[in-house]
Amino acid sequence: MTELPVRTNPEDAPGGKRTDEAESACSAPNAVDRRHAIKIMALAAATPGLASCTVDGGNGSEGGGDPVTDGGDVVADTPNPASNPKARGDAWDPDLIDPVIPWDLELEDDELASLAVLCDLILPADERSPSASSLGAHDFINEWVSAPYEGNGDDLVLVRGGLRWLDRESTRRFGDPSRPGSGPRFRDLPIERRTAICDDICYAETAPPGFEFAARFFDRVRFLASTAFWTTPEGMDDLQYVGNVPIPTWDPPPDEVLRHIGLLP
């Protein structure tokens, strides 16, 4: 799948590895000072594997002022910082061709590991598509909850608190009553036990009293994991979405579609 460059660590940039575990660039879109912004965008342009698309139109939109990299260190202040020299490069006028995510990622490795397990419980691998975590759903949730917006900040608390709740509930249900606080973590439980907990929180309408928060947490993770999963190429294939390709003419729906909806016998 494709991944956006989130902040970049100079050591990682030339290797083509995903670079979302690196140090902070800035805290909010508009807090980026110009020089720093240029460095971020230059690194973005240098990071291989980005799904950037050269738009039609004669003037190649990319390549102008390619950043020079030397062992991963970026020579900043290139005259054309990214693929779109007209864009100012902040949140109001981002580079739409080669986007970057200019905020810190908040979740810790341990939290991400637990989140990945939960994402896979919601969207496991099957014969048609891989699991959510293998497509980076937990990383997307990290991107989402780390964004510098009020609603996203609320989700950070919800996700963080929900992961703690899952572990506490695992201990409460399946730990040793004589040793409170030292039980199995959710992600270490066998699948039947994980499912037993999730069955209680998977739907707000049927969640037992006291599980309201956990149900809200589960629903939010399901929502975000679904967004992450089905917006990847693998997720789109799973749904058998067949568009986003240029076609010369537009034809009516195939007969089998019209039969399906009852407009043809």
Binding site: T2, D219, G243, P253
Partner: protein, 637 residues
Amino acid sequence: MDSPTPTSSTTLPPIPWKPPEPASARCGRRSTVWGCGREQHESAAVRQAQDYDAVIVGSGAAGGMCAYVLACSGLRVLMLEAGRDYDPVTETPMFQTPADAPLRGAGTPEKPFGFYDATVDGGWQVPGEPYASAPGTDFRWWRARMLGGRTNHWGRISLRMGEYDFKPRSRDGLGADWPMEYDDLAPYYDKTEALIGVYGSNEGLENTPNSSPGVLLPPPAPRAEEMLAQARCRELGIPVIPAHLAILTRRLDAARISRELWPNNATARRVTEESMNRRAACYYATPCGRGCSIRANFQSPTVLIPPALATGNLDVITDAMVREVTVGPDGRADGVHYVDKTTGLDERATGRTVILAASACETARILLNSKSGLFPDGLANGSGLVGKYVMDTVGAGVGGQIPALENMPPHNADGASAMHVYMPWWLYGEQAAGRLDFARGYHIEFGGGRKMPGFGFMGGLAGFTDGAYGRRFKEECRRYYGSFIRFDGRGEMIPNEDSYCEIDPDGVDQWGIPTLRFHWKWSDHELNQARHMQRTFASVIEAMGGRVTSSVHDDGARAIAAPGVIIHEVGGARMGADPSESVVNEFCQSWEVDNLFVTDGACFVSNADKNPTLSIMAVAWRASEYIASEMTARSIR
């Protein structure tokens, strides 16, 4: 400018924004003077020494059209745009997917319609450019600070106003009549449609005008859900006909069209033909709201401004925030004051006429801020009507889930981005007979189906599946994918005295320019109409065998979208036949200042359910012809 519902799930106060750095410190961003061929040449100072025939404020539907017609007519034109230079050909992300964007393309405070929306430096909040709403009202003012303005993200729904729409007061005693008839504007609708490229069909329905033969491009075939709605609506007596959208379903016949548009003008013919030949036909992928790098959809910077530049008669200055129209000792307009946003310095541009095309409310703001000893209440405001009778479109919607659309055989359902068919207003007879509790109509836009999954995909599915997760959740998503549909009404608002904008005595933007304060009140006509919309949509969903998935309010005040949300605001400098009851005449010419024109939506007298952009362009074309002929005849000196 209908656009999809914002996908924002976050709310946040506007992010503090620092003023731009001086041009020297910034990359690719400076107050730019463009001439022929989009090459930067000469300085603003040099060009201002020229004697411009017209100074146009704004570069969108109205400003772009005025620049095209006037430059083609041989006038020397200066266009001022408050936002940055923008080129859809090189700046549009075409095949990128949500996974290529931050937050999977979700709306944010800075990009309310999602990351890929073509609007840059715009939205309902623009940093450094506040506005206020009077207590009890909540007007949302969308702006797009960029070359081409809102034409870049416009939904491109191009419906003609009909004969009723120009004479509403004569028909039912409400609102006011236009000083022109449909037949006066019809030739300009033809010209505009031929120039920009509009697909659609002629159905001959009441108050839903046909275009002249050879003008429209063939409409694309309906998608599956559109065909199902068409079949079921037939049973309900609701017509579902091809929509009219400014998207090329085939290449334009450039030689023929340019010849017909400009039979006696070789330069205009040449530049028009060359520009049209650079436009490709739609390839039925990627949403139009991103812009279009192949120029298949209509945008001012790909369709109107390039041929105007190619005449050699147009200069464009971007990042030029106009503050006021200046007036000479003779009481005639002689130019504008603007702030060069890249330097913060006040600048001046002069010309023999001034054309305001800055968008309805921005135009009213400029007029109200143009105070002088001769015009203490603002320019062209002797009637006191500048800023008054502002209208938006009535909006209300309902979503549904249609079992017949579940588990559809895979097929490409992208199409021309937006809807292929729509429902024009069909209850004129009911209204005439007094059987409805609102006076004016609405049309229905709708969409759904197997589109590319985006942010929020399957967000409501937990409710449909009693909280499914695991393998069953995946299977349910496959089943439900493509089965959701949404109907949105777009209805006529009748102008009223309580809906207006004025200069906020307590407000100023970061350029030091006094800001607007909005007042708003819906009448029962709008509220009842919104209620009727929701009931109708629920009945259509049920007729399709589906279930309604959103609220259907019996209280119109809860059904109706907040004013400004539909982004069809017009009025504020309305035209009329009587100087005491209007600001401009039928040619958009100010009654008080004969070389001052208002060609954008501000001049609208009524706001039919038809999305206004096409009419803005037709009105601007007609006014531009008048300006050109008057200047040639020297009746405007």
